[in-house]
Amino acid sequence: MSRIVTINTRDLEKSAKEGGCGECQTSCQSACKTSCGVANQACEKES
């Protein structure tokens, strides 16, 4: 795949089967307070 370099990322479809524990921090609880972003939130699921 010389023309395409794929980066390791979390498989979102797989996370549909194993995620959803809700233990992660609420996004507004960190630094924004005036916008909503979830991409920078860390997953806190205990494996």
């Binding site: 795949m1 990322t9 549909a16 992660c24 609420t26 924004c32 920078n40 939130q41 860390a42 699921k45």
Partner: protein, 465 residues
């Protein structure tokens, strides 16, 4: 759905529903963009002469695309409608409180969305009894959640410092028996920081958010005391001491930019040059009548600023003098699951704001708006409050019409309900200005992240391994 964009010399392809990211050469960039709407022959007719490649080159690239598609990493279908529907029906339990311990402030920042801490209501300080009851309310309504978050907010929470300490001590005393892990955050303007605040916060606060707008002249334009004196010279030495003693615990230097400093990257650089490394800078939230309101004419300037910020971060990272920017933090491998990406901030369902009197609102940005009041910590949600909470539960990035075709929806989860409400009148709207900035930030965040790739960052398929 894919999103293709260029940043400097990189062609970046983001596959929305798998979350995959690819860096591709010019030929693959073109072919991927043509792939869904073109035949092999059409691709060959256009790509071969444009790039001077052979049919075999194109076929090899098409094969790679097919392989990635089969692996679920490119052109992945949207399979999340069902999750979005289920989330609307879920019985939500609380996990976070924004505790308004002081509806008053010792600064008089005219751009403050909280109306100098009063939130368009009366000034007042939360009593310990109210704070204690708020902690109990959170625990009682937190269901199976183990991790709970409490943010001391205001106004200026250090104006009620002794009560903050009492609330923390109370919560620490009951969390273990309740089976909870409570994480505290304090957001402060810095004026009342002293050794006691530093020592206590560095022991108890999971995170502290320190408000500074950047350069002295920028900070002091808005962040002034009641006599109009700028706060920079008072707060910066205190912030430095605070952060220095904080060790490796989290903090954010958080600024607000407005129409008056659309060159906000200079303010971020200034904060970094002061020695602060965890930085956040947010666009102002204010009414169009305000002189600080960000205009349509500001937009191209802001877009360029976010690119400039990315370049600055890449440069400083390479020099070994990097800093983090809140909106450019992306954990590609251990980031949020799809449930989080769809459901968002949890305002009104998992996250509530509690005022100094114990009234409950969906989040800090709705405090003082009686239409949005959910109830109080003594009697719980009212019938009206339950209806409002239900409305919040119905909103996610699959129910907002404006998110339907947006490639960034699983990065922002549909955006801030308060911004949508205040700009368009409904929490089901989107705040388009904020959306455009958000999309730009994600593009730049990825560019920063992809600027320093290591071998372990690269995906190797089973067949290539």
């Amino acid at each position: 759905m894919i999103h293709c964009y260029k940043f400097d010399d990189k062609n970046i392809v983001l596959d929305v529903y798998s979350g995959s990211i690819h860096i591709v050469d010019d030929v693959a960039f073109k072919i991927i963009q043509m792939y869904e709407d073109s035949t092999r022959e059409q691709i060959i007719d256009e790509v071969c002469p444009e790039f001077g490649v052979t049919e075999q080159d194109v076929d090899e690239c098409l094969k790679d695309i097919e392989d990635l598609k089969a692996a679920g990493k490119l052109f992945a279908p949207d399979r999340y409608e069902g999750i979005a529907y289920d989330l609307k029906k879920r019985k939500w339990t609380l996990k976070a409180l924004c505790l308004h311990v002081a509806h008053t402030c010792n600064l008089n920042c005219s751009y403050c969305f909280a109306a100098q801490g009063k939130f368009h209501g009366q000034r007042g300080l939360m009593s310990f009894e109210t704070g204690k009851r708020a902690v109990d309310f959170l625990i009682e309504n937190s269901g199976a959640h183990k991790n709970l978050d409490i943010d001391f907010f205001g106004g200026e929470p250090l104006m009620n410092w002794e009560v903050v300490k009492q609330i923390v001590e109370y919560a620490r005393g009951i969390e273990k028996d309740a089976g909870k892990n409570i994480r505290f955050t304090l957001t402060t303007n810095g004026v009342n920081i002293n050794d006691d605040v530093i020592d206590f916060c560095n022991k108890e606060m999971h995170n502290v958010v320190l408000s500074l707008d950047g350069r002295k002249e920028v900070n002091d334009h808005f962040r002034v005391d009641m006599k109009g004196n700028g706060s920079y010279d008072v707060i910066v030495p205190k912030f430095k001491k605070f952060v220095e003693k904080r060790g490796n615990k989290s903090y954010y230097m958080r600024g607000t930019y407005t129409h008056f400093n659309t060159d906000f990257v200079n303010d971020i650089k200034h904060m970094a040059d002061l020695g602060f490394k965890e930085l956040s800078m947010e666009p102002v939230v204010t009414s169009p009548d305000s002189p600080s309101f960000l205009t349509e004419e500001d937009m191209p300037v802001l877009m360029q600023q976010y690119e400039d910020l990315a370049h600055e971060m890449i440069k400083r990272n390479r020099e070994g003098n990097g800093f983090t920017f809140y909106h450019y933090m992306l954990d590609l491998t251990c980031g949020p699951c799809i449930y989080k990406r769809i459901s968002g901030c949890g305002a009104g369902t998992e996250y509530i704001a509690v005022t100094q009197w114990g009234d409950i609102y969906p989040c800090h940005q709705f405090v003082g708006d009686e239409r949005m009041k959910l109830g109080d910590i003594y009697n719980g949600f009212t019938d009206h409050g339950k209806d409002v909470s239900y409305e919040f539960a119905q909103v996610n990035c699959y129910t907002r019409e404006g998110c339907k075709d947006c490639w960034a929806k699983l990065y922002c989860s549909g955006g801030c309900a308060a911004n949508a409400y205040h700009s368009g009148g409904s929490i089901t709207d989107i705040y388009d200005y904020g959306c455009r900035l958000f999309r730009k930030r994600i593009e730049c965040a990825l560019a920063v992240r992809l600027s320093d790739l290591k071998d372990e960052d690269i995906y190797v398929s089973d067949s290539d391994a």
